[in-house]
C-alpha cells in the first residue's frame, strides 16, 4: 500500500509540472507588451530596457519559465493589481469558503446521485425508474447559473424560505452560527451539486445494472437470499467505479461552483475571480486557477488512495 501511494505521488509530479506550464502559457498569451503597459507611453528606451531586464523578459522563454516556477514554488504568484496585496494569500482566503460550499455540494451530489441511480437501476420498467433517469439527465444538463437564479426567485426572494445570497447573516438571533451557515448553504449547494449528481446517478445506474446481471447474483438468488440483500451485494460491487467518477466530479465542482458563487454572492474563489475579470486583475485569476488545479490533483490523489483501499487489485 505504501509503495502504491508513493507511486501515485510520483505520478502527480509531471501533472503538476504540466499544470504550471499551462498557467505559464496563459500568462504569456496576454496580448500587448507588459513593459509598455507598466511604463506608459512616455517611457524612455533606457527605462524600457531596464524594466525588461528587471522583469527577466530579455531571457529565453524556458529560462523565464524556470524562474517563474521557482517563484511559484515559494508561493509567490505576483501581486493583485486591484487589491495591492499578495495574490495567492488573497485567493487562499476566499478558497476556504469555496471548500465549505464544495464539500456540502459534494455530499449532496454523492448521496443524491447514489439514491437516484439505485432507484433507476432496481425499479426497471416502472415509473420511478423513468422519473429518476429523466431527473438525472435533466440534472446533467442544468447550467448552474440558471438553476441558481430559479432557486432564488422561487425559494428565496419574496418567500423568505432561504437567504438569497451571502454566507452568513450579520444581524439576527442566529447570526454567525453553524445553523445560519447551513441555511445559507442549501440553495448554492444544490445548484452546484446538480451536474455531478446527475453524472454520478447515471454511473451508479449503469454499473448497478452490470452488477445485477453478473453470475454471482444468480447464485445468491438460488441460495434464497432476500432481494434487498442481493441488491446490497450488487451495490457493493459498484462502489470502486462510483468512487472514481464521484472523485472526478467533485473536482469538476470546483469549476462549476464559480457561477454559483457569483449568483449567490458566496464569498469564495469564484466571486473573487469574477470580480478580477472586470478589473483585468490577471495575477489573481492565475492564482485562482492554480489553487483549483492543485486542489483537483489532491482530490484525485485521495480518490486513488481510497480506491486502492477498497479494491486491492489495483494496488499492483
Amino acid at each position: 500500500m505504501i509503495r502504491f501511494l508513493l507511486r501515485r505521488l510520483g505520478l502527480a509530479i509531471p501533472t503538476l509540472l504540466g499544470v504550471s506550464l499551462v498557467i505559464f502559457v496563459t500568462i504569456r498569451i496576454v496580448p500587448g507588451d507588459p513593459v509598455a503597459s507598466l511604463l506608459g507611453p512616455t517611457g524612455s528606451p533606457e527605462a524600457r530596457a531596464e524594466l525588461t531586464t528587471k522583469l527577466g523578459l530579455d531571457k529565453p522563454i524556458p529560462v523565464q519559465y524556470v524562474t517563474w516556477l521557482g517563484r511559484v514554488a515559494q508561493g509567490d504568484l505576483g501581486r493583485s493589481i486591484a487589491k495591492q496585496t499578495d495574490a495567492l494569500a488573497y485567493v487562499w482566503e476566499a478558497f476556504r469558503n469555496t471548500i465549505t460550499l464544495s464539500l456540502f455540494a459534494a455530499v449532496v451530489a454523492i448521496v443524491g446521485g447514489i439514491a437516484l441511480g439505485v432507484i433507476a437501476a432496481t425499479r426497471r420498467g416502472k415509473v420511478a425508474s423513468a422519473i429518476s433517469s429523466g431527473l438525472s439527465l435533466f440534472a446533467v444538463s442544468a447550467p448552474q447559473y440558471s438553476v441558481g437564479l430559479i432557486f432564488i426567485v422561487y425559494l428565496a426572494a419574496g418567500r423568505g424560505w432561504f437567504p438569497t445570497g451571502g454566507m452568513r447573516n450579520t444581524t439576527g438571533a442566529d447570526a454567525g452560527t453553524t445553523l445560519d451557515l447551513i441555511r445559507h448553504l442549501w440553495l448554492p449547494g444544490i445548484s452546484a451539486a446538480l451536474v455531478p449528481l446527475g453524472i454520478i446517478a447515471r454511473m451508479v445506474r449503469s454499473s448497478m445494472l452490470d452488477a445485477l446481471a453478473a453470475d454471482f447474483v444468480e447464485a445468491l438468488r438460488a441460495r434464497g437470499l432476500p432481494e434487498w440483500k442481493i441488491r446490497w451485494h450488487a451495490f457493493h460491487n459498484t462502489l470502486p467505479s462510483v468512487l472514481t467518477i464521484a472523485g472526478l466530479q467533485v473536482g469538476y465542482l470546483l469549476g462549476g461552483v464559480i457561477f454559483v458563487e457569483v449568483v449567490f454572492s458566496w464569498p469564495g474563489l469564484g466571486l473573487v475571480v469574477f470580480q478580477s475579470i472586470s478589473q483585468r486583475d490577471l495575477p489573481v485569476i492565475q492564482a485562482g486557477v492554480l489553487v483549483s488545479a492543485l486542489a483537483f490533483v489532491v482530490i484525485n490523489l485521495i480518490v486513488d488512495t481510497l480506491h486502492g483501499l477498497l479494491d486491492p487489485r489495483i494496488r499492483r
Partner: protein, 315 residues
C-alpha cells in the same frame, strides 16, 4: 456490402445486439425477447421520442437564430426608457421588456446567434483538431502516442470551465477569444475518443490489407481509418454541443463574451439578474432559455449516442 449493412443499420456490432435466439442477457440485465426474424437481420434502431422532440427543439433554436431578422418582433437594441420592465404579454411584448425597455423576446431570438455560434464553433474546431491528434496518436509510433496523449492528460488536471476562464481572461473578453478558450478545453476529450476509435480500427483485417498493398500513411489515415472512426466522433461531438453552449453562455455571464449592448443569452442572464425582486419572471427568461437549449441538445445528443453506442469519458 454485407447483409447487415444492406438492412440499413450501422449498429450491428454493438454488444446489445445479440443474435436471434441467443438468450445471452443484455448488459442492461434484461433478457432479449426471442426474435423470429431470419438470422443476419438486425432490428433497425430509431431515435426514441424524447430524442426526437429534443431534436425538434434544437432545430427551432437554429431556425430562430437563422431567421432572427424576420421573426423578431422588435429591434433587439431599441430601448424605450418609458416602458421599462413591462410584464409578460403586455403591449405587444410577449416576454416583457428589460431594464432599458428593450423587448426580451427579440433579444432572446437575436441572442441565439452569438450564443449558439459560440457553442457550435468550438465543437467544430475541437472536433477537427481532436480528430487529427487522435489519428496521429493512434497511427503513430508508441513514442508519438505517449507524447500526445500524456500532454492531453495535463488538461484533465484542471476543471475545464476554470481553464476556459483563465484563457479567455488572458486573451481579453470578446466572442472570438471565448471561442478559442472553449476550443482548447474541448480538444482533449475528443482526441481521447478519436485515439481509442483509431486503436480499435487499427487491428482490423482490412488495415493489414491496406498496409500490405503499400498504402501510405495519409492514404491509410484518410481513406481507411477516418471513415470508420468518423461516425463515433461526430456523434460524440454532437453530444458535446449542449455542454459547449452552456459554457459559452457561462463565459458571457462572467463578462468574457460579447460586449453590451449586444444581445447574448449569458450576458442577458447577468444583466437581468438584478431584477430578481422587481421583475422575477423576466429576470429568469434567459436563464430558462439556456436551460431548455442545454436539455434539448443533450437529450438529442444522448439519443444519437445510444443509437451508435458511443462511449464518452463522463464529462
Amino acid at each position: 456490402m454485407t447483409a447487415t449493412q444492406l438492412v440499413g443499420d450501422d449498429t450491428a456490432d454493438t454488444p446489445t445486439d445479440t443474435a436471434p435466439g441467443d438468450a445471452i442477457p443484455a448488459p442492461d440485465g434484461s433478457t432479449p425477447a426471442r426474435d423470429t426474424r431470419p438470422s443476419g437481420t438486425v432490428k433497425r434502431r430509431r431515435l426514441g421520442w424524447p430524442a426526437r422532440i429534443a431534436g425538434g427543439v434544437c432545430a427551432s433554436f437554429l431556425l430562430a437564430a437563422l431567421l432572427a431578422p424576420l421573426i423578431a418582433p422588435y429591434e433587439p437594441l431599441a430601448d424605450d426608457r418609458s416602458n421599462r420592465l413591462q410584464p409578460f404579454f403586455s403591449g405587444g411584448h410577449l416576454l416583457g421588456t428589460d431594464g432599458q425597455g428593450r423587448d426580451v423576446l427579440s433579444r432572446v431570438i437575436w441572442g441565439a446567434r452569438p450564443s449558439i455560434l459560440t457553442g457550435l464553433i468550438p465543437v467544430f474546431v475541437a472536433g477537427l483538431i481532436g480528430t487529427l491528434l487522435g489519428l496521429v496518436a493512434g497511427l503513430g509510433s508508441h513514442r508519438v502516442n505517449t507524447i500526445i496523449m500524456r500532454t492531453l492528460d495535463v488538461f484533465y488536471a484542471f476543471p475545464a470551465v476554470l481553464l476556459a476562464i483563465a484563457i479567455a481572461a488572458a486573451l481579453g473578453s470578446g466572442t472570438s477569444n471565448a471561442i478559442i478558450a472553449l476550443s482548447v478545453i474541448l480538444v482533449p476529450p475528443i482526441a481521447r475518443l478519436a485515439e481509442s476509435e483509431v486503436a480499435r480500427i487499427r487491428s482490423a483485417a482490412f488495415m493489414e490489407a491496406a498496409r500490405v498493398s503499400g498504402a501510405g500513411w495519409w492514404s491509410i489515415a484518410l481513406r481507411h481509418v477516418l471513415p470508420n472512426a468518423a461516425p463515433a466522433i461526430v456523434v460524440y461531438c454532437t453530444a458535446l454541443v449542449g455542454l459547449s453552449i452552456v459554457y459559452a453562455a457561462g463565459l458571457g455571464f462572467l463578462g468574457l463574451g460579447v460586449a453590451p449592448p449586444t444581445a447574448e443569452w449569458g450576458l442577458m442572464v447577468n444583466e437581468l439578474r438584478q431584477f430578481t425582486f422587481s421583475a422575477p419572471g423576466i429576470s429568469l427568461v434567459p436563464a430558462v432559455v439556456i436551460l431548455i437549449a442545454s436539455v434539448a441538445f443533450n437529450v438529442f445528443g444522448d439519443g444519437l449516442r445510444d443509437l451508435l453506442d458511443v462511449k464518452g469519458d463522463g464529462r
